[in-house]
Symmetry: C2
Amino acid sequence: MRNRVIIENVKPEIDNGRFFIKRIPGERVDVSADIFSDGHDVLRAALLFKHENDKNWSEVPMVEGLNDVWTAAFTVEKEGFYEYKVEGWVDHLNTWYKGFLKKQEDGQDMAVELKIGADLLRKAAVSKTDKASKLAKTLEGKYEAAVEAVMAEEFAATVAEFPLRQFQTVYDNHLRVRVGRSKELFSAWYEFFPRSTALLPGKHGTFKDAARLLPRIQELGFDVLYLPPIHPVGKLNRKGKNNAVTAESNDPGSPWAIGSEEGGHKAVAPELGTLEDYKKLIREAEKMGIEIAFDLAFQCAPDHPYIKEHPEWFLWRPDGTIMYAENPPKKYQDIVPINFESDDWENLWNELKSVVLFWVEQGVKIFRVDNPHTKPFRFWDWLIGEVQRDHPDVLFLSESFTRPKVMAELAKGGFTQSYSYFTWRTTKKEVEEYMTELTQTELREYFRPNFWPNTPDILPYELMGANVNAFVKRLLMASTLSSNYGLYGPAYEFLENSGHTGGKEEYHNSEKYEIRHYDWTERNRLTDIMTKINNIRRENPALQTTWNIQFTRTDSDHLMSYVKTTDDLSNIIWCVVNFDTQYAQSGFVEVPKALLKITGRVNLKVTDLLSGESYHWFNDWNYVEINPYKWPAHIFKVEL
Amino acid sequence: MRNRVIIENVKPEIDNGRFFIKRIPGERVDVSADIFSDGHDVLRAALLFKHENDKNWSEVPMVEGLNDVWTAAFTVEKEGFYEYKVEGWVDHLNTWYKGFLKKQEDGQDMAVELKIGADLLRKAAVSKTDKASKLAKTLEGKYEAAVEAVMAEEFAATVAEFPLRQFQTVYDNHLRVRVGRSKELFSAWYEFFPRSTALLPGKHGTFKDAARLLPRIQELGFDVLYLPPIHPVGKLNRKGKNNAVTAESNDPGSPWAIGSEEGGHKAVAPELGTLEDYKKLIREAEKMGIEIAFDLAFQCAPDHPYIKEHPEWFLWRPDGTIMYAENPPKKYQDIVPINFESDDWENLWNELKSVVLFWVEQGVKIFRVDNPHTKPFRFWDWLIGEVQRDHPDVLFLSESFTRPKVMAELAKGGFTQSYSYFTWRTTKKEVEEYMTELTQTELREYFRPNFWPNTPDILPYELMGANVNAFVKRLLMASTLSSNYGLYGPAYEFLENSGHTGGKEEYHNSEKYEIRHYDWTERNRLTDIMTKINNIRRENPALQTTWNIQFTRTDSDHLMSYVKTTDDLSNIIWCVVNFDTQYAQSGFVEVPKALLKITGRVNLKVTDLLSGESYHWFNDWNYVEINPYKWPAHIFKVEL
């Protein structure tokens, strides 16, 4: 009860320490806390942290700022979990020292003060021969020499080195950081349906066909290849083209209607090949620096084996039929949801976990999770925790496009990356506000966005009937705003811009319900830019994180300007985007002098990594002109 | 683990439930929470609350608003502690019902749906004969009648009445409300030094002299009379006039230098009279509706008996002298601080508690606590909790003028009221921002401000050399902005405006160090206004709370406008203040139509309770003109 220091409002702390924050090696954890005490004594505070495998805590002194807010930071180096905590105490040695300086200046007699100081130094000393102990002796010696010792500059260092630590307040609320591998924060995804990769039109593509495209994906510069579900597609109530209720005999159905008598969540669709083919695809991709992302969709077609084997995991109607998915009055008869309120929930959870572990054993390290927000949050927390405990390199992308708090909760619970609202943030103001929300609020601690301009489910209105400049613009924005981004590749590359005939924000003739044929040998302006931007991202560390964005001023509503730098300013990328995809726009952009630590006159060389052109800027505001038919954006590399 | 509902971000909740919030009987507790679930089922949530003496919880349904925020409120009726918590669950009966309506509208066959509904109703039923059970039977009867029953309007009420409650999530984080007596929120304080109340100049006033002034205080309309410490004043190192280091033989010293051989914190200064005189003063005041506030100053003069009796409660220097209070290089040799880090802290705490209980036994119910921020926070939490457990009607005012988080922490810990920054908030923008901070942030849950335009320690620059209009303005603002306010009375009433000669924000010839003589029979414009404003406050419930303030627009920088109403609009007070104390100012003020629930044309009668003048207003914006030499403000009573 003699602790006098209050420590409150510690950040980051997610829901009172219930959830961990996320980092990759080399990232910093900035910690702040309100720290204060009664009275006017000098306080000290320290941030302590340790990796789960470390025995001892490391310690950084915290620094007092305005309004009783103290800050400190540490950088995580190793993968795994770190813990951190904050300690604060009243330092009487320091209080005495500060008072001594003022009294001495005031010309007071310091004899008794010297004795007090000697006592405090002895209390602070660790051994009888250390600096503090020696100084204690000096303070008890000759008056003048003693006063001189205290007034000497080195004395402050000794006071700092020997914090008189007693009646400490410890804020230890199970604050944890999960440090994962770099790909968690920096990845470029390409999605295609393996069944649409056959050489001949009308043929069902296979894993082998998909493998043939790996060099192309590699050349484009993507490092994750995400395939929709690869399981046997349900035959019962299979959907036809354009989501027709009845399928024609040759319709392949939606790959998200999982399971038939050919197998369920641990099987592969025979049309795609064998499990061995899939594993081979993973291995071949790996050699090219590409990881295969697996689609984890915990739902069943009506002929999924689970339904007979575990009828207790589903809901049944009084007439003996199974409950399909529905959004009244609409019915989705090719999909049966799992009932997580089942009395047999423990077996259910364990079975689903075994599904993930099965695919991990086959070599999968990235799971794109389908609609996680239709399964209980606490199930995901548990599942991801269980899997990552033994396989910390396994990543989970939350495919949840729903309400903000629901998406945030999934991320809190452990999802490594999350789909985002970028798809619908199309104006300058919207983009700036959304980036600010993602990077300047508590979200940044746990919600890692993955920016997708399109998905097989979503052709945004922004891209319907749009010209290639619009596709280029959205690609450049996604890939430079966010370090994680992805494309539903062929539709994007080949500029599919025909919307759903019913007016929905979907593709005409959605590939979800049919096999498509693409000319994968085609290249166009867009594929060239993809290649270029992925190279730029790889070569510029400033683009390998999402958190460092700073928007800067322009004098045009058409132009958005943002700068990303590494902490040490060794890499500076400055993007200027023209939102007008039809006309050239020009205006002035302001040099962020504070961010770039420019104190005198501006003298910058900026080189557009897209066009290769260089400019020398000597003013605070500089002229830019962007013609979308050439490049819809500047991506300047800045040399100070 | 089958709970699917997430409940987060519950408000109010102070520091994770560590501290209680504060109310008086009749006040509302507005609770909000983020509540959501996976999937698309219909959720329900309830706010539960109970008084500590109640056995059962009362329950209010929560209402869903935007962005997954749910709200509900309850009104506290009785003094003591209430607890509250939030529960949420998925309601399958309601989900089914909402789906039924849509499917029926869609023309689907409802036979199986009716059976499902009957099952759910049976699950929700409490008895076999209640409405739910009866409806279950109807649903199993003839198809048309069954469908009609579900489509009937009453069915929704049944669904609402029988929430199907399973797998509930309970948010129960020890959320508490302390409900105190009304005076905690509504009080008018008058402070004087009893030693300055003698009839004859130069004589030391007594409790009996003070008692003689009670009718005057009553007439002015104050209901708390606060006296600085009444203990024997230390003689050792006693301060002279104007804080002189050496006192003359007839200097009375500062009453905050407590204790001498005549006694300590449980004694009264013999010059003031006897303990019996003090108790009589309390009783006489009580009869007139005035409570005597006691000054609790836990510090000692160097000749306080504690110092000999408990040397271990103080800090000693190596030369055997006691450590005085200091703010290096300044020394306060008439004051010795208590060392709360003493090894004997438990006995110390108990002794200090016994001091409070001693005065409670004498009849004191209000303690104004001197500089609580120089004693440990956790000591106050404990002390106030201990005292209020047995004496819930005892109030503590925190005299802390220091950094915001320190002041807030004292209030969190249990102080009933707190001195505030009002004293230095002098411009329109400052006042509006400060009121917004006090009433629209979490502070409102636990920090009850008490507005003082002056104190014996503070003559603000705003009032130095100021004219009577400035005194009237600050009085009117303090007493209408905040329901708790106070004055260092005689200096205010008698317009003392001479500042400290050293330029400090203090009084010239501070009464802290000398006996003053006032002509207590004097009345002036200011005393008339005090009387008036205290009457207005008593007659208008809208002025009896601080939380209901709403600032409204004016077209003049000189005019500030704010409206306070009771919840039911039965009492509406509209203040317009002229910040200019020299010149009349005029302008237009806007009618807050939304607040006053005016939908059509404006038609208001406003009566200035100060001047008695009435106006009829028919426009959204209305003209006012305020001459500070008449009244520096309008205090309109509004009739709708």
